[in-house]
């Protein structure tokens, strides 16, 4: 079965700092990759996704992620964070063709200090 590891449980940054959140998955086959975000008091929502093609994908609010197949990684980045980016971020993997599930990482709580 696939698994997802997020290395940072809690990240604290000042506004305008650059962000990189790590995500590694273990699965030998073809996968779809996702980052979800949960802002305080809000629904879990999709930030960006990778299915195929350009391994650098851009999502909402200036976020991007790069799929590096050889490293089984899908790290999330943002050049300059804002206070409003304070949220919990989840990496997720779905096995291509499976209706079954998304496998989620344990999440990273990002706190951006004003």
């Amino acid at each position: 079965a696939q698994s997802v590891s997020q290395h940072n449980h809690h990240v604290i940054l000042s506004e305008a700092a650059s962000l990189e959140l790590g995500c590694n998955y273990s699965y030998g086959g073809t996968v779809n990759l996702f980052w979800y975000v949960q802002y305080p008091g809000q629904h879990l929502q999709l930030l960006l996704k990778y299915f195929s093609g350009d391994p650098l994908v851009k999502g909402i609010k200036g976020f991007e992620a790069e799929f590096i197949k050889s490293k089984f990684s899908f790290n999330l980045r943002k050049p300059s964070v804002q206070w409003s980016d304070t949220a919990e971020y989840f990496c997720a993997v779905n096995v291509r063709g499976s209706a079954r599930q998304l496998t989620f990482g344990s999440g990273t709580q990002l706190t951006v200090l004003p």
Binding site: V4, Q6, H9, N32, F34, Y36, H43, L44, Q45, L46, K49, F51, F90, N94, R96, S98, A99, R100, Q101, L102, T103, F104, G105, S106, G107
Partner: protein
Amino acid sequence: SQTIHQWPATLVQPVGSPLSLECTVEGTSNPNLYWYRQAAGRGLQLLFYSVGIGQISSEVPQNLSASRPQDRQFILSSKKLLLSDSGFYLCAWSVRHQPYEQYFGPGTRLTVT
């Protein structure tokens, strides 16, 4: 546009009492439906998923069950709650033949006392 509803938003129940959480989806037909439990520091754990009416797959054997009496309705139940059932329960849906992206509801916070 599609929307997903869950209720109640919060629930406090005593140990040994029954449970029924409801999830409905609007604006789509024949969705895949999912129940997750979110625990602090542990991400989301898939509990059940359904690809059609009456079709339920269980991922984690436990004190809970799920049912899908209608195409866009998904119910999470328990006959007797345990303290360990406390948590945040999320319902999600995906397009039947494109099950890659899942869309989440607002969740139910369950506290078993």
